[in-house]
């Protein structure tokens, strides 16, 4: 599924250069549920942006299947995001003026799906995440857990190959967190998705079948040294 080869990402700031990723080599097979952990500023979000075709590396190669994301132009990256990648954000990032169903429909707009089909698929996927009775509610009328379910429905409605979640439970209480993770796990198992979850929460990470740790732009497998002994990554550093 994913292959990252010697990926480096640097940002140039006013008086310094930030190395967000340093020579990352990584392979994520299809259907794996991966948790990415690490300290704030360690490179978790940058790694997720590379995987999600949101950004290109400064050097190295990022592949998603046969697509070389690191060499693709903006139009091609947008096409990959529209068809192959689903995103779930910590702050849900729903469009506040659109209802739950309309928010889900936004993910189908770039695919050119006809209106009736968009509504049918959005209604169906919201039913699967338990929001069949909240179709016409605005985000402000939904709880945090419900909003995140809408965001998950939006990510899944286009039937992507990959689901990328950036702190999906970061703004939820423990009960809701478990509900959302139960849902993600269920969808992962049912649909054979490849799921990458960035999280600070070990309870969330514990559900993954693979854990990556990233600090100072370097990826290692397992927990950080001193808490859980790192083990070699399946591929890469």
């Amino acid at each position: 599924m994913y292959t990252l080869s010697n990926v480096t990402k640097t940002y140039r700031q006013t008086n310094r250069t930030v190395h967000a990723l340093r020579s990352v080599d990584l392979s994520i097979p299809t259907g794996q549920l991966v948790a990415v952990q690490g300290p704030t500023g360690g490179g978790k979000s940058t790694l997720l942006q590379m995987l999600g075709a949101l950004d290109r590396p400064s050097s190295g190669e990022v592949r998603l299947g046969d697509a070389v994301l690191s060499a693709a132009d903006d139009r091609e990256l947008a096409r990959v995001r529209a068809r192959q990648v689903g995103f779930v954000f910590q702050n849900f990032n729903l469009i506040p003026t659109l209802t739950a169903r309309e928010n889900v429909e936004t993910a189908l707009a770039p695919l050119g799906t006809a209106g009736a089909e968009r509504r049918r698929r959005s209604t169906e996927v919201l039913g699967r995440v338990g929001l069949a009775d909240r179709l016409d509610h605005l985000p402000a009328e939904l709880s945090g857990g419900q909003q995140q379910r809408v965001a998950i429905a939006r990510a899944l409605v286009k039937e992507p190959e990959v689901l990328l979640a950036d702190e999906p439970t970061g703004n939820l209480d423990e009960v809701t967190r478990d509900e959302v993770m139960d849902l993600l796990e269920l969808l992962w198992r049912d649909q054979g998705l490849t799921v990458v979850v960035v999280t600070h929460d070990s309870a969330v990470a514990d559900r993954a079948d693979r854990r990556l740790y990233i600090a100072d732009g370097t990826v290692t497998s397992g927990a950080p040294r001193g808490r859980t002994a790192p083990r070699p990554a399946a591929a890469g550093s």
Partner: protein
């Protein structure tokens, strides 16, 4: 999705939408009112000019009034012999009328008409001779011869005690080709009684009178009128079709007859020219000036400058202040729309970042932002159009009257029209036609469409600038934005 999102966004940002739409509405209201008033004033100017120059005249050709053939330069002389007049009761009554070139005009060879007709893109040309008939009528005591001096008898005269009484009356006479109806003064009149001049009137002593003049002089079809000492049969009355109600002359007679009576054989004072198209006017003017270097060649645009009075003031006000005000408000509305759209995009950075993250292309984001801006502007444009039309209707309902004074130093501009003041004698180098015109500002579909189009353009410019800003956001950076 596009319309759902657009509708929801506009509904959610009512205040910003209202500000953009209101700004655009104000600008469009001004554009429509100024455009319509300009068109109304232009129509009024055309009307004022067509009363004198006829409908469809693009160019007039005349001769400078200060030449040797200028009219009205030396005053009028009436000479009576000792035996002239009718004597009765110790008094002598004398009447004499003279026909001469109108003050402020000059004659030139009629060959110029053929020259003009031979110029490319000249559709039609006709010549006129602008004359003034002056009638001297008086009563004085019988003169008695004696010692080489004229002595007045102690009795007789107008008052029976040796006094005298004189009247001088004038009216304008236009000699014209009676068969020419396509261009010239007859194009702006309609027959109210009798008939119009006809081609076979050439060489005859027939006259057609302006209706207002005939009423004032108590003349009717079938009566006779003395012009230049010759009796003319009145065959028709005509009334001006111009909004001013003014016409080019009091009396119309065949050109050849006019030339003979005024002793100006082969001479004319004006040529009325119609070009084949509006775009050809400038070239035709240049060609005529080249072919007739001594002539004064005026286009309608030149002639418009001869209109003065409140009509000219209104035209000047609209073309200067009105236009600039419209442009300024329109520019301000565009700017406000652009700034508010930019501001809206800045507030929605993460929203657009999210949309790009889920696969929206730059084009789709630009279309969405531009669409929102376009709808706001078009709504403002429609409201502004409605307000503008109401404003124009209100102006029309108010019945604003503008006065026009058409005066000119030479050529047909100098003709007295519609009972305007006629000055005779030394120093009277110009004549003027004064008329009141009720301003009628037209609201055309084109103006409304233009206004809405301008609003749409403003919305697109604002939307495109905002959309461009939204599109160039890198999704990764946009998602980091804190809203």
């Amino acid at each position: 999705m596009f319309f759902t999102y657009l509708r929801r966004e506009l509904a959610n940002r009512r205040r910003q939408s209202a500000v953009v739409a209101a700004g655009m509405a104000l600008a469009i209201t001004l554009v429509i009112i100024v455009s319509s008033l300009s068109a109304g004033v232009e129509d009024a100017q055309d009307s004022a000019l067509s009363a004198v120059y006829g409908v469809g005249t693009d160019i007039t050709v005349s001769s400078p009034a200060e030449g040797p053939n200028a009219g009205g330069g030396g005053g009028q002389r009436f000479q009576f012999g000792a035996e002239d007049g009718e004597r009765a009761d110790g008094s002598t009554s004398v009447v004499q009328s003279r026909l001469h070139l109108s003050p402020g005009t000059a004659s030139f060879s009629a060959d110029a008409v053929d020259t003009v007709r031979g110029i490319a893109d000249v559709e039609a040309a006709t010549a006129t001779l602008s004359l003034t008939n002056v009638t001297f009528e008086g009563e004085m005591p019988d003169p008695q011869e004696g010692g080489g001096m004229v002595r007045v008898a102690p009795g007789g005269g107008a008052d029976g005690e040796g006094g005298s009484s004189f009247d001088v009356t004038t009216f304008s006479v236009l000699g014209l080709d009676p068969g020419e109806t396509g261009v010239g003064p007859l194009t702006s009149v309609a027959v109210s009684d009798g008939r119009a001049p006809a081609a076979d009137d050439a060489g005859t002593h027939t006259a057609v009178l302006d209706n207002d003049y005939a009423t004032g002089a108590e003349l009717a079809v079938g009566d006779t009128l003395e012009i230049g000492g010759t009796e003319f049969e009145i065959v028709g009355l005509v009334a001006s079709t111009a909004a001013t109600g003014a016409s080019a002359a009091d009396v119309y007679i065949p050109l050849d007859t006019a030339q003979e009576l005024a002793e100006l054989d082969g001479e004319i004072s004006d040529i009325y020219v119609q070009a084949t198209s509006a775009t050809a006017i400038d070239q035709v003017q240049a060609d005529i000036e080249a072919a007739l270097p001594d002539a004064t060649v005026n286009t309608q645009q030149d002639l418009a400058s001869t209109v003065s009075g409140s009509l000219a003031t209104a035209a000047s006000l609209l073309s200067n202040l009105g236009t600039w005000l419209s442009v300024a408000v329109l520019a301000a509305a565009f700017l406000i729309a652009a700034l508010l759209t930019m501001s809206g995009v800045a507030r929605r950075t993460r929203e657009f970042g999210t949309l790009k993250a889920i696969g929206w292309s730059n084009g789709r984001v630009v279309r969405q932002v531009a669409g929102e801006s376009l709808v706001q502007a078009v709504l403002g444009g429609l409201v502004g159009s409605a307000l503008g039309v109401i404003g124009v209707l209100a102006v029309n309902a108010a019945g604003i009257t503008l006065s026009s004074v058409t005066d000119a130093p030479a050529g047909p501009e100098g003709e007295p029209a519609g009972g305007g003041p006629v000055r005779i004698g030394p120093g009277s180098d110009a004549a003027a036609s004064t008329a009141d015109i009720v301003l009628n500002a037209p609201v055309s579909v084109q103006i409304v469409l233009l206004a809405v189009g301008l609003a749409a353009l403003g919305g697109l410019v604002a939307g495109a600038s905002g959309g461009w800003r939204a599109a160039r956001l890198r999704p990764a950076e946009a998602l980091r934005a804190v809203n």
